[in-house]
């Protein structure tokens, strides 16, 4: 095994699909595009391909950096690269920006051919099932009959799970990390507060803010601040921020006084500066709707009965957004179905975001599992 290193400079690619994509919402996208990146080499048998599915704010830039932007590292660069847990010396890794995203794939900011204006609020609500369908079309283009593995954290893990249900013959392994089989009322509640923050921003203009030359940054900022709280753990916040004050605190006013306020506002501002508000709405809705067991009267084992993949399910002890108990629901359903599944509960202080963090044990587990994935 080589010393772990980055895949180095990468370039994104784009594919335009002309065959319409029928969506769960009952409509269809007549013409749509996906941006994606690939790392490593597809072998002659086309049997070493790995699909990486992104979470709420993720995208196709998973590993490496752009030649003209060396600081823009892929969001899972610590996981993917030569000698890394998902080893690009062995595997051909594909990252894709999902439909409805704001990183180049067809989404709310794309021009709607019917109006000549950005789609905005008219962009159809897309679901995890729709994404899987779109990703499968990309696999067709790349000549990949079956993924050696589909891998994702959080909302990405839900896509990996959906793959095994919808296209069981096209995925040999699924790595479902920091995910849940469906959202709880509390999860949906958080998402809806975030959406309300965006929708009630006067600059939202019913989702058609592009034509007004403005952006609902206040709402998006609040949505991100709220979301960010749910990605962290109480322990981690206590350790990192506690009740630490900013210089000049204690003025009996409403400015930034506690470090946690400063941190959250910074995160909110940073995110609102570049993310698309309509995409945020779509991604949270995809989360809310995700419930593969629903057509089976809530019986997840019934939903997964046809899956043919082997599974690695991973959770993190301090993740309260999608707690270990939620991952155990997936595991129990898979065991009931007598599927091959391993489950690892990683001790981490980092809450839901732990799936993105450097953690020796976590990475060793993924590396060990991937090492047994045949190419």
């Amino acid at each position: 095994m080589t010393e772990p290193r980055s895949v180095g400079p990468v370039a994104s690619r784009r594919h335009a699909f002309d065959a319409p994509l029928a969506l769960a919402a009952g409509t269809a996208l007549p013409h749509w595009e996906l941006v994606y990146e690939t790392y490593g080499t597809l072998n002659a048998e086309r049997s070493n391909a790995i699909l990486i599915c992104h979470a709420l704010s993720g995208h196709h830039h998973v590993a490496g950096h752009y030649a003209d932007d060396p600081k823009n590292l892929g969001w899972w660069d610590n996981m993917i690269g030569p000698g890394k847990p998902i080893d690009t010396d062995r595997f051909f890794v594909v990252g894709v920006n999902n439909l409805g995203g704001c990183h180049g794939s067809t989404g709310p900011a794309t021009i709607n051919p019917a109006t000549g204006q950005p789609w905005g609020a008219d962009f159809p609500v897309v679901t995890v099932q729709d994404w899987v369908k779109a990703q499968a079309r990309l696999a067709d283009v790349l000549g990949i009959d079956a993924w050696a593995a589909v891998v994702g954290g959080s909302l990405g893990g839900m896509q990996a799970l959906q793959w095994t249900i919808d296209l069981p013959d096209r995925v040999r392994h699924a790595l479902v990390i920091a995910a849940a089989p469906r959202l709880t009322a509390e999860n949906i509640a958080f998402n809806d507060v975030a959406r309300q923050a965006i929708i009630t921003d006067p600059e939202f203009h019913g989702g058609h803010f592009y034509r007004h030359g403005t952006r609902p940054t206040r709402g998006l900022r609040l949505a991100r601040m709220l979301g960010h709280i749910t990605y962290l753990s109480d322990d981690q916040m206590a350790e990192k921020f506690g009740r630490k004050r900013r210089p000049g605190a204690g003025s009996y006013g409403f400015g930034v006084e506690f470090e946690i306020e400063s941190y959250l506002r910074y995160q909110g501002d940073k995110f609102a500066g570049w993310f698309d508000a309509n995409t945020y709405l779509l991604m949270t809705k995809a989360l809310d709707y995700f419930d593969p067991a629903e057509p089976y009267d809530g019986d997840l084992a019934a939903a997964l009965a046809g899956a043919r993949a082997k599974f690695l399910v991973v959770s993190f002890t301090t993740d309260w957004r999608f707690s270990p108990a939620r991952s155990r629901e997936i595991v129990n359903a898979l065991v009931k179905d007598r599927k091959d599944v391993s489950y690892v509960e990683i001790t981490s202080p980092h809450g839901h975001d732990a799936f993105l963090m450097d953690d020796h044990y976590y990475h060793a587990v993924v590396a060990a599992y991937m090492n047994n994935v045949k190419t």
Partner: protein
Amino acid sequence: MSHTPHTLRRPDFDVIAGWMKAGESVLDLGCGEGELLQLLAMRGLRGWGIERDPGLVLAAVENGINVIQSDLEAGLAGFEDDAFDHVVLSRTLQTVRHTQQILAEMLRVGREAVVSFPNFAYWKNRMAVMDGRMPVSEDLPYQWYDTPNVRFFTMLDFESLCDGMGIAIRDRQVLDERGALVTEESNFLGSLAVYRIGRGG
């Protein structure tokens, strides 16, 4: 990767495997690195293991077995009744605090169960106590101050508990310290006892 034959390392494994058939499913509680499950997989069984220790879980993933990281006693709660043909608790019952609960849970999620444990009434153990010391042996390889064992019992004790709980003893194999089968005076000559149990009545 070690290539020591399983029979040399864990003589009880062959006894356990002998009670199972290809195509059956098995849950191994405290599966460690997954040696038993690897042996059973070679014999055509479908297996899952429960293990708490992170290092052993990692080793089990490396070995390509199905391992579920969980506390033993909590780990069974999520499984349905009759989820497995067999549930194995190998050399671990003496480390479990809630003995009756774990036995009841094993026989809830499993059609039948296999339990192996060191026999505290083995003659060398009796001798050690007669000499005024706690026993240390092949099957009890710990000092009193570092042992994970919290329950100390003999074959007779176990059999009387099964009787009290309405658990049927379907098979019993007893091994000496070298792993050879013991056929008489089991509670005296047996160092390791392996039981196949089921729901009584």
